[in-house]
């Protein structure tokens, strides 16, 4: 257990706001950061906006941005300090074009989701309970 930072990567402001609201309503204790795209996310992981400590969890929809999401995950998996980050793919896309590629990168979960508020709350609640039973390694 313990606190972890979570980085949500999504170019839809409405989705990010929905998650913030859901995290607040469910009283998720982990801090939520957001990035509008993979470049900004990378900057927050290993660039000019680097978060400290580095987030332990990433939430991303790899089906939205052609193959940028997969390239981003590939880069994470090839980075010594970032490769251990838990990645949860959350997607409302019906065409799961990048599902196989994501599964090949040892993601923690591939989660088809709806972002409507009531349903989102139930998804976030399950994820939150899961994050509360797992251990994280020491801060970096």
């Amino acid at each position: 257990m313990g606190n972890a930072s979570i980085l949500l990567v999504d170019n839809r402001k409405a989705i990010i706001e929905s998650f913030r609201k859901s995290f607040s309503e469910i009283e998720v204790k982990h801090t939520l950061f957001s990035a509008a795209n993979e470049n900004e996310a990378w900057s927050m992981l290993d660039g000019s906006q680097k978060l400290s400590p580095v987030p332990k969890i990433i939430l991303i929809d790899v089906n939205r941005t052609k193959n940028k999401g997969i390239q981003f995950l590939n880069a994470i998996r090839n980075h010594t300090d970032l490769k251990s980050i838990l990645v949860f793919v959350i997607t409302d896309s019906e065409t799961e074009i990048n599902k196989a590629a994501a599964l090949n990168l040892n993601i923690a979960g591939y989660i088809p989701m709806s972002f409507e508020s009531q349903t989102l709350n139930s998804f976030v609640s399950v994820l939150n309970e899961y994050w509360n039973i797992i251990e994280f390694s020491s801060q970096k």
Binding site: R77, K83, S84, L86, L103, N104, N106, A108, G109, Y110, I111, P112, F123, V126, L127, E129, Y130, N132, I133, I134, E135, F136, S137, S138
Partner: protein, 136 residues
């Protein structure tokens, strides 16, 4: 939704812990087929020699004789057919080095075995909900 249930492999040397997992599965109505290996060597043999159908989930202890969980995980991740299986560590080891090694080998979660069976039941219930979310 009617999903076909995936196979689960438990890699655990302690017979009491194996029984606890089976009890917790039963009480949580987890109907997936559960296979058991007593250590990493046995688990690899079952997987590589097709003695069991390929599981989608492995529940993995760390401290085991012959081959521990981390050693097993390293070999598994280098095997094309096995490397994408979701692994959930379930262990009494609270060592940071074990957590670091496990997450570097991309486990989906690292869970400390609770001391009470009641808490263990709750953890397994949470796992079940998470697996359903991932459509596992």
């Amino acid at each position: 939704m009617n999903q076909k249930l995936v196979n689960i492999l438990l890699v655990e040397d302690d017979e009491v812990d194996v029984m606890n997992v089976k009890r917790a599965f039963s009480k949580n109505n987890i109907m997936n087929t559960l296979f058991v290996a007593g250590n990493g060597v046995e688990a690899l043999e079952m997987l590589e020699n097709h003695i069991i159908p390929l599981p989608k989930i492995i529940i993995l202890d760390i401290n085991m004789p012959k081959m521990n969980g981390i050693e097993f995980l390293k070999i598994m991740r280098e095997n094309e057919k096995l490397k994408n299986i979701s692994v959930f560590v379930m262990t009494t080891s609270n060592e940071d080095s074990d957590k670091i090694n496990a997450y570097n080998l991309n486990v989906a979660g690292y869970i400390l075995k609770p001391l009470s069976f009641e808490k263990f039941l709750t953890s397994v219930a949470t796992l079940k909900n998470f697996w359903q979310l991932c459509e596992l």
